[in-house]
Subunit: 587 residues, 2 copies
């Protein structure tokens, strides 16, 4: 199509409210338009990109025997009551009433809907395994949408659900899907995405992985071992702490520590190492506001996901009342008031000489030895691992904590949903069982934004050829000069006839404005027809990433352009892992 | 794929709650599953069909320079407040609050969102005309969902919005789209769809058309002239009445009519023709409950859409109180109490001798002459035309009223939305104007169901090859016999390699069960491999509509099958009008 007809505005100034580059470029390039907090409309350029991504995802899902279905966006609340999530999920589940006062929700994920769809179909073991997926709008009422399409409230998602009769079969399929996800990201031009072990959160189940694009713009913390293959997200990463180097045992001694409210104040005042201090962080349970006091080494932070999983219920930062008996700023394990849940993080294990609060205004203890001075001390892992920490896998001090964007996730769900929603099948031996499920998600818009985040320069996105809105951006430099116009018009029509996706800029504007627009659209192959080269019967071809710059003959321009496009595709393909065959070769 | 792996159940019994065939067949064939009132999930078979329909629509929209975009499903209420529809639209607009108590709505149509998207883009006349469209989920909280996918609450819709700088330009584009819509229905296999003039309803604007599939299962009434091209839906059809044959003028006379409550009772009792009676229908305005009394000829019905349009406000059937002074069952124009809105339908015009109520219990008048006996009588068209009525176009008594399903609609919106939402552009002469809009909708699921309604037999749908879930249904009659299995497996793989969409039934089941399933899937070409024909190295080929039945040689089966598929496509193409070029040949 012609650029002058393309709906969407492009402009130069970076919008002030854009914290990450991809967001700024997508606003500046006429890709997306803000409608409400975390809600965007997509302009034609962006829709072209997301359709290509959707088709790649669809091909990969079909290749592992996925069957495309469509679930509703608006679901009856009763389905979510069956699974128990109507109660357990927070405000991100949007609940509303319809005109008949029936309880409804907007689908934020479709485990319930998928079980509902196949509950009757899957009544005998012969129907298994099978996988269904959809590409559909989701709504998740996020408290803090951010960064353009990275964290939104409404988004298009591919979500897949597999059903199995054994854990072993689920695991085989899970591996297949794990591999298929890598292919999807590779085909979209970001082979650098890594899979990390993750916490299953509200989805339930045990094993799960997140696919992470490492970038400082990401909002997730990822734990990577530089010595072995260990990769996990912060929520799931075990913390291993070596306290063998800590101070020698000493007597317990109460010391006056005026104006020392934080653990850093105290160790500074007492001139001890932070690694031999014990700090307290206090929470309250959401259910009944009971206090939960967490003790951990002064230089570690609480991992609230691990804490929530350990407690089996949700918590919030405490508001400490006088009646609680807790003395804020001076909380310690020894002589602590009774009646509260007290937890000791593994970072304290093995230290025989700790500084800690004395549960009395302006006093701390020195020389605390937990096993000597406190009873019932049991250590649990509820802290965050740090860069330089010990790898839980290989044991070396090679942990790096990096930032990343989660571009996909896969879960082994087990029977959480099938059991709750009473989906059963009759096995070969006549016994009645609940099927075992897996689920697999990719956010389409977030994936597009992530590719932009990974592949851009200061002037705009550098789209991989597989998902670029067009393959060729044709610029006519002097549309007011007949030879230029004739040559460019002719090449445009030749490219269209050859089935090349081409955007044609035949506006009468300055070269600077023309190239700025082309940079913002990020089309991989740019072809420029200008008076100077045209005298030699040539046009200029430049790839968006500048790796290829050459003059091509006008007479065989289409062939030359197509061979560059083919080369870009071939280059991308070299990064894609071979396809793995589905479980059942018969299928 | 193999039929045994296809997710979805098929069964024989017609569900009791299905009032139309397409609904019953889609439930029986494993196409759709009921989730909640007017809300369905789509099984893989149905998703394959709707994807093909969506692609046909997309191709036709792109061919008239449409640019695909995506609007949100969840919209801020403020956008609908801008247009005034937040107030004016009834309960079918689902309103809800998000977690921050912001007012939101679920998009049931996207005029507001489209103006929002292009309000900045379209600021100068040089950007016009342009058209944007989306294929997206809509939610309309219908009071009475019915008939499977025919009238639902959640549905996938293609909605398009065009923007113009002159009414003339809009009309040119409207014609283009009018034509394009016919192509869509032709390509989907229902060339019999007709366009009828329609009432614009809540959309605003003047000219509009609905595309109707005529079928007794439809819920709309369509007015068709058998002598000329006149087609309109009931709401929009002008009623023309010829009263030249009515009784001669007579004196006004009050008569005792005990127990005569309806106009039929009265004319029976007085032995007069129903065509010379005047009946009353009473409504109340929604805004203030004021009464509206409509007088019309005894044998006509009120057209409430025309009445609402005439009044410019919504109405409901009246509850008549004693204080109103209205005497139910005996209401007439003469000596009627004051203070109410009184309207005379054109069906009364020219009758000089009417029977009507006397506004007194158990009394009627005979010989009423409206122009003689009543003051301020003005006739308006607020009645429904009837079969056998006079065509408003050619004047012949050739009107037929038929039932139909609305499969699409197109509207000339004018500046209703651009004015309300303050979208302006600067014209060539520097003046600032509101763009003129058109909008164009097609419900994807309803279209699929309509095709099924139009093309089915007692055993299942007969899908047109263009939207059929697969092209070929391959049946292996004796999978337990090695030669059959080998031949069928081989043909299956050959067809897949040749790019033919094939569903393969290699189950060990009876022929009856196999064919019943095949009928329910409605795939156009069926190929049956059985022991008898295989002895002659042959297979049987039967089209779903039985027009082709023949034996084909196994050795060149793929070629023969492909040529039948090609013939089916060619047959369909012969029903498709040629493509018309877009407005601007330059584009």
């Amino acid at each position: 199509m012609k650029l002058k007809n393309l709906v969407g505005e492009r402009f130069k100034e970076r919008p002030a409210d854009c914290v990450i580059d991809s967001h700024a470029l997508m606003i500046r390039g006429g890709y997306i338009k803000y409608v409400a907090n975390g809600i965007y409309s997509l302009y034609p350029v962006m829709k072209r990109i997301t359709r290509k991504i959707e088709n790649i995802i669809r091909e990969e899902m079909d290749a592992i025997d996925g069957q495309e279905v469509l679930f509703p966006v608006a679901l009856p609340g009763s389905l979510w009551e069956e699974s128990g999530r109507f109660e357990s999920v927070g405000d991100e589940l949007l609940r509303f009433k319809d005109r008949n006062d029936s309880q409804m929700v907007l689908g934020m994920t479709h485990e319930e809907a998928s079980v509902h769809l196949v509950r009757e179909y899957g009544q005998t073991y012969t129907k298994y395994p099978f996988m269904i997926y959809q590409i559909q709008t989701k709504f998740r009422d996020e408290a803090r949408p951010r960064a353009g399409l990275i964290r939104v409230r409404e988004f298009t998602m591919k979500d897949a659900y597999s059903f199995h009769t054994s854990q072993e079969n689920l695991e085989k399929y899970y591996d297949l899907c794990y591999h298929s996800y890598h292919r999807i990201f590779q085909r979209c031009g970001i082979p650098e995405v890594i899979a990390v072990s993750s916490d299953s959160g509200m989805m339930g189940g045990s094993t799960s992985h997140e696919y992470m694009l490492l970038t400082d713009a990401g909002e997730d913390s990822i734990v990577i071992c530089e010595a072995c293959d260990y990769r996990a997200n912060m929520e799931a990463a075990a913390n291993v702490v070596d306290n063998s180097m800590s101070l020698a045992e000493a007597d317990l001694e109460k010391v006056y520590t005026p104006h020392c409210k934080t653990i850093e104040d105290v160790v500074n005042y007492l001139d001890g190492p932070l690694e031999c201090s014990c700090k307290a962080v206090v929470y309250q349970k959401n259910s009944n506001d009971d206090y939960v006091i967490v003790f951990l080494r002064g230089d570690y932070e609480v991992n609230e996901t691990k804490l929530t999983n350990y407690l089996g219920e949700n918590i919030h930062p405490a508001e400490i009342t006088e009646e609680s008996g807790i003395v804020p700023g001076f909380i310690g394990p020894h002589n602590l008031c009774n009646g509260h849940t007290v937890l000791y993080d593994i970072s304290l294990k093995g230290i025989e000489n700790l500084v800690c609060g004395a549960n009395e205004e302006d006093y701390h203890y020195k020389g605390l030895n937990l096993s000597r001075d406190c009873s019932d001390v049991k250590f649990v892992d509820i802290s965050k691992i740090k860069t330089g920490g010990i790898c839980p896998c290989c044991g070396k001090k090679t942990i790096q904590v990096k930032r990343g964007i989660e571009v996909g996730n896969i879960f082994q769900l087990g029977t959480k949903y099938t059991k709750a929603m009473n989906m059963t099948y009759t096995d070969a031996d006549g016994s009645v069982k609940n099927p075992i499920m897996g689920c697999y998600g990719i956010g389409v818009g977030r994936l597009a934004a992530s590719v932009c985040e990974a592949k851009h320069d200061i002037n705009g996105p550098v789209w991989p050829v597989s998902i670029a809105p067009w393959q060729v951006h044709l610029c006519c430099m002097r549309i007011d000069q007949e030879p230029c116009k004739t040559a460019a018009d002719s090449l445009y029509h030749q490219l269209l006839s050859a089935g090349v996706e081409v955007i044609y800029d035949d506006r009468d504007v300055r070269a600077g404005a023309m190239f700025a627009d082309a940079d913002l659209l990020g089309v991989p192959v740019r072809v420029i027809i200008g008076p100077k080269n045209l005298k030699n019967n040539q046009a200029e071809l430049v790839t968006r990433d500048k790796t290829i710059t050459k003059l091509i003959g006008i007479d065989h321009a289409v062939d030359e352009i197509q061979s560059v496009i083919n080369e870009l595709f071939a280059e991308l393909s070299r990064q894609v892992s071979p396809q793995v065959h589905p479980l059942d070769e018969e299928n």
